[in-house]
Amino acid sequence: MPDSPAMTHGTQELANSADPGNAANSAHPEHPPYLLHHFESAGQQADAAGFAMWLFLLTEVMFFSGLFTAYLIYRNWYYRAFVAGSHQLSVVWGTTNTAVLILSSFTMAMAVWCSKTGRRRELTLCLTLTFLLGLGFLGIKGIEYHEKFEKHHVPGRHYSLQSFLYPDSDAAARAAGDRPLPLDDARHTEVYFSLYFLMTGMHAAHMVIGLCILGFMILRARAGAYTAGHATFVENFGLYWHFIDIVWIYLFALLYLISRH
């Protein structure tokens, strides 16, 4: 364990020690305000927080892996239905969204850097940009969802097989050169759209949570909370944000680009 030599103190005073007689024993040279009482040094605290964040991302990987497993199984079974389903997605919007997210990852990385180098104004700017880009992503996702809704591609009672049984009646299918699917194949497109909504929906839920935290961070950043030498929170949030980004890149490849090798 990479620990700083400062941590080998044998004794240490407690914030509210039971024994005032001990207080004089170990006055700490540096005790920044953000250091929580139960840590010995800021280094240990940052270390623990970073480690916890990586572990948390691991749990997120497991969370999504359930969906990815389902996806892989069904894609293997119902490949033709999945291809036809994916032709209904707009690669243009998908690519735009990928670009938007990658850009937001970049601004987030900048924010971490600003926080570490103590640039308060720039930090606020970067965070706000990230926020806006995230919002933009959700907006585009909303447009896509709306389109699916109009075409009755939302699984459930109102699901329609029109675009798959009669691709000539559907612009997207015609553009992709789809041939009519047999009825049983066409029915399996519902599984595809179930997974599409589940995966992108879970992803969007993570975005929404991220945006809430981001909003809170912007307010605190303006008050200078992250530019006084304590960048851990911004850094860890950055990890989360990049993680969401990576998940999206997988989703983009798996859902939008199935038949484009």
């Binding site: 364990m1 990479p2 620990d3 941590m7 080998t8 103190h9 044998g10 004794t11 240490q12 407690l14 914030a15 509210n16 020690s17 039971a18 024994d19 007689g21 001990n22 024993n25 929580l36 009482h37 139960h38 010995e40 240990q44 270390d47 623990a48 927080a49 480690f51 916890a52 572990l55 948390f56 691991l58 749990t59 997120e60 497991m62 969370f63 999504f64 892996s65 359930g66 969906l67 497993t69 389902a70 199984i73 069904y74 079974w77 119902y78 939302v154 699984p155 459930g156 009672r157 029915r187 399996h188 519902e190 599984v191 179930s194 997974l195 909504f197 589940l198 879970m202």
Partner: protein, 575 residues
């Protein structure tokens, strides 16, 4: 080893519980609800999980009463189904999974490794709130009519056929799942980053090793049940077809996902118990645990292997014969580390100096019952035998042996062992031993007949059953009432001891763990002086020297009326 490693304690006479401790440091309900002290959070968990145990236990009581006769005299079939579903859901997700990690783990892990708190105290409190909210959702589910899917939520029954409150039940588990995730995460970070100077990995108490294994499972498996519950809810609400065979979905996929969590989760329900037993056995035989490294690594091995056996719950479900082979083989392999532990515990007794205090009696009970439960587990893992006994009372007996006979016994051992530390008071020893014996007898009477019932073929989850199975069921019900006494008794005398119990002192068991080297009940930040670990775990000789030295010191300090002050030591902190 010199006297400078002595940990000084605030002066504490034998007259009373120290005035200043984590229980009394602050007062008022709010100080509890907003606490970030790991020990107070542990107490909060103890109360909530205890509450859920009573609910689950009452469901069990009605189940057993109903099964007294072959026909449904007491409740209707629907009600019976709801009872065992609620019993299973509550007992697993809201009692046994959280109980040992969140109560004893929270209380002890920071103290055992010499930290002031867990690494993320606020997250720790958040976990408790998530758990409680999840529990409240579950209570709501029960009040508005319950759920009747069994605790396994088999699709498509749960998603398309029953019309009970599956969504609420799944939601409660989903929310409580995050509490598990955060607790596990917290423990891993704490164990990695918060160890006291000198506390190397191989000086950790075995308790910590087993909780480390538990936490790995929490972190890796629980997210999968979370997403599975989301899928169940969405499938019910919106009719997406991921598990619906009519739409091309695969209902077996659900079981794969469910057991991918729930099998590792059964080890969440036993690993902490193994940690407790290691501590107890070592302490009451005054010996270092035999083969420390083997026991430590077997915990991690169980945690790792547990991820590769889930489909042994699906042997007859039409999985391919080859995958059945693989999963059977891995189930055999996961049993090996458990066997290692059992033998090592037995060997620990060799040349010890054994006393039979209450925790030790529970520990003996654990060894016997867990071995029976484990060996029947191996029978289930044997492909041929599983065909006959799966989905029968044989399974019910198997898992009650490991969960109730194993884990609940272990928890009782732990609760009695650390009760003096938690409350500063002793429980009445003779009543304690009596309860342990009652529990053991009642338990066997309840669940042993179920093995026979299972082999005779009585299916589980049966409200009506053929009359020839009645005799054994009557035995089982009779046992359950003895069992209930065995649970009720400790509840009573433990509460009694809070007020009237003898004062425990810092180290009533003369145990070696760091948690015993501070006052009972401990202060809010555990230690007045940052402890330094300069000896191996379970070093009873160190303890003896330590006691002698501190007696000398006490005499000295009484002689010259001066304050004892610890000196700094330079023990490198190893990684």
């Amino acid at each position: 080893m010199s006297a400078n490693t002595i940990i000084s304690l605030p002066d504490q006479g034998t007259a009373g519980v120290p005035k200043k401790n984590y229980l009394t440091q602050e007062n008022g309900l709010l100080s509890w609800l907003l606490t970030r002290d790991h020990k107070r959070i542990a107490i909060l968990y103890l109360l909530t999980t205890g509450f859920f145990f009573v609910i689950g236990g009452m469901a069990a009581a009605i189940i057993r009463l109903e099964l007294l006769t072959p026909t449904g005299d007491l409740v209707a079939s629907d009600t019976y189904n709801k009872l065992f579903s609620i019993h299973g859901i509550i007992m697993v997700f809201f009692f046994l999974v959280p109980i040992a990690p969140a109560v004893l783990g929270n209380f002890l892990i920071p103290m055992m490794i010499g930290a002031k708190d867990v690494a993320l105290p606020r997250i720790n409190l958040l976990s408790w709130y998530l758990f409680t909210i999840g529990g409240c959702v579950e209570l709501y589910m029960m009040i508005v009519g319950g759920v009747d899917t069994g605790w396994t939520f088999t699709t498509p029954l749960s998603t398309h056929y029953v019309n009970t409150n599956v969504i609420a039940a799944a939601m409660g588990i989903f929310i409580a799942g995050f509490s598990s995730i955060l607790t596990g995460l917290n423990f891993i970070v704490t164990i990695h980053k918060m160890r006291a100077p000198g506390m190397t990995w191989f000086r950790l108490p075995l308790f910590i090793w087993s909780y480390y294994g538990t936490s790995i499972i929490f972190v890796l498996a629980t997210p999968v049940i979370a997403i599975t519950m989301v899928l169940i809810m969405l499938e019910r609400v919106t009719g997406i077809g991921v598990f619906d065979p009519a739409k091309g979905g695969d209902p077996l996929l659900f079981q794969h996902l469910f057991w991918f969590y729930s099998h590792p989760a059964v080890y969440v329900m036993i690993l902490p118990g193994m940690g407790i037993i290691s501590e107890v056995i070592s302490n009451f035989s005054r010996k270092r645990v035999f083969g420390y490294t083997a026991v430590a690594f077997s915990s991690v091995a169980i945690a790792v292997f547990s991820f590769f056996v889930w489909a042994h719950h699906m042997f007859i479900m039409g999985i391919s014969t080859y995958s059945a082979l693989v999963f059977s083989l891995f189930s055999m392999l996961v049993a090996i580390p458990s066997a290692i532990k059992v033998f090592n515990w037995s060997a620990t007794l060799y040349k010890g100096s054994i006393t039979f205090d209450t925790p030790m009696l529970y520990a003996f009970g654990f060894i016997g019952l867990f071995t029976i439960g484990g060996c029947t587990g191996v029978m289930l893992a044997t492909l041929g035998v599983d065909i006959h006994v799966t989905e029968t009372y044989f399974i019910v007996a198997h898992f009650h042996y490991v969960m109730v006979g194993g884990m609940v016994s272990a928890f009782m051992a732990g609760l009695h062992f650390w009760w003096p530390k938690m409350t500063g008071r002793m429980y009445p020893e003779s009543l304690g031993r009596l309860a342990a014996v009652i529990l053991f007898i009642g338990f066997n009477l309840t669940f042993f007949p179920q093995f026979i019932l299972g082999y005779l073929g009585m299916p589980r989850r049966y409200h009506f059953y053929p009359p020839e199975f009645q005799v054994l069921n009557v035995f089982s019900t009779a046992g359950a009432s003895i069992l209930a006494i065995g649970y009720l008794l400790p509840v009573l005398y433990l509460i009694w001891s809070l007020k009237y119990g003898a004062i425990a002192g810092n180290n009533p068991w003369q145990a070696t763990g760091l948690e015993w080297q501070t006052q009972s009940p401990p202060l809010t930040e555990n230690f007045t002086v940052m402890p330094v670990m300069d000896h191996e775990a379970y070093d009873y000789e160190w303890l003896e020297r330590q006691t002698l030295a501190s007696q000398n010191l006490e005499n000295q300090s009484q002689a010259n009326q001066s304050q004892v002050r610890p000196k700094e030591t330079e023990v490198p902190r190893a990684g």
